[in-house]
């Protein structure tokens, strides 16, 4: 429902604002132009994006994802000691994070959900500290190759769709650290 409110809000604000500033004439053309440009955007980014989801699938099938997952395990044992005691949960979490890292969103979510379900057993609907941490990690996920983004940039005629990668990596690394730090801090002060 949030999106329904957001969409209606944007359209209504546009109408009111357009009436106040005298830009009303441009609105109808803008709405149609926006719809058209959505199709153009999708078509233009289609090639780059599908090529990369193809490469990601190859990585998945030759078990590069599993290798990545095993690299995560020592780190996860320290971050989530309770959940890591159950080997199946640990496997799901590390596979979840490595799929996130490779940008395999469709694969990452079911794995993460499996881990979250196992971690939430017997907690009566209240998120444990470790479950909070897992979800925060997922909301701030690090992606090695943001393929959708590269597709959009390529469709807009950038000189190099991947030249922002170092900035993306440093930014997401920092934001993951901030999320971890915030979660650890809040765990100490949060009541109930």
């Amino acid at each position: 429902m949030a999106m329904a409110w957001l969409w209606t809000g944007m359209v209504a604000v546009s109408l009111i604002f357009g009436a106040l500033t005298g830009n009303l004439n441009a609105l109808s053309a803008a709405a149609l132009e926006g719809a058209q440009s959505a199709v153009e955007l999708c078509l233009a980014m289609c090639g780059v994006m599908c090529l990369w989801t193809g490469v990601m699938e190859v990585m998945n099938q030759c078990h590069l994802t599993d290798r990545l997952a095993s690299l995560f395990r020592p780190l996860l044992r320290r971050l989530l000691p309770n959940a890591s005691r159950d080997s199946e949960t640990l496997a799901a979490i590390s596979a979840n994070l490595s799929a996130d890292l490779l940008g395999l969103g469709n694969a990452a979510t079911p794995l993460g959900i499996r881990a979250a379900c196992r971690m939430s057993r017997g907690c009566k609907g209240t998120a444990s500290d470790e479950l909070c941490l897992l979800v925060v990690l997922n909301t701030a996920s690090i992606q090695l190759l943001p393929t959708t983004l590269a597709g959009v940039r390529a469709s807009l005629g950038t000189a190099d769709p991947f030249d922002i990668l170092p900035a993306v990596w440093l930014t997401s690394l920092l934001s993951v650290f901030a999320g971890l730090l915030a979660a650890k801090l809040f765990a100490h002060f949060w009541r109930n």
């Binding site: 957001l6 609105l27 959505a38 289609c46 989801t53 925060v136 807009l156 922002i164 920092l174 915030a182």
Partner: protein, 173 residues
């Protein structure tokens, strides 16, 4: 030569050789994955159509510029370009909404401009916070989310600041 110009050909070759060494049918895996990409695009197209028409109306009415002007003094102080203000609101709420707003910003300020790059890094460095929280806790039957959302929003705030900072540091303003 920039490292990023090598990433694509090297990654393609490495992945193909590695997979072939593991006796994986590289070609059919590649096309299967490409088909998945197509499904993803098909799924986001309807919401992109809806959202981009609203975003274009929002811009044409002058409301987007007003929002930027309103927030410019505060954003300037912390080093975030005011033109990316709409993205700050929509990034945690909707993935396709952020894609719509972000691509519009990149298009109108130039995809290789400072503003366009900051918008791109903001898009690429985070997940859709509220959606992720809803999906995970919904599936796990969690109703008391405790500090999950505040902590995730802290990460988002740092992400916005860092996007502007690292683009300026690594690629110039």
């Amino acid at each position: 030569m920039a490292l990023s110009t090598l990433i694509v050909p090297v990654l393609l070759t490495f992945t193909a050789c590695f997979a072939l060494g593991k006796r994986v049918d590289v070609y059919s895996a590649l096309t299967k994955g490409a088909e998945e990409g197509l499904t993803v695009l098909l799924h986001i197209l309807p919401s992109l159509i809806a959202l981009l028409s609203a975003v274009y109306m929002f811009r044409a009415s002058g409301a987007m510029e007003a929002l930027g002007t309103l927030l410019a003094p505060a954003l300037d102080r912390i080093g975030i370009p005011a033109e990316t203000a709409p993205l700050l609101f929509i990034r945690p709420i909707s993935g396709s909404g952020a894609l719509a707003v972000g691509s519009e910003i990149m298009d109108s300020y130039g995809v290789d401009s400072y503003i366009g790059r900051v918008a791109a890094v903001m898009l690429g460095s985070s997940e859709t916070t509220f959606y992720t929280v809803a999906v995970y806790y919904g599936a796990a039957g969690i109703t008391k989310t405790r500090y999950t959302i505040p902590a995730a929003l802290c990460a988002d705030a740092v992400m916005f600041l860092a996007s502007a900072f690292f683009v300026r540091l690594l690629m110039g303003a």
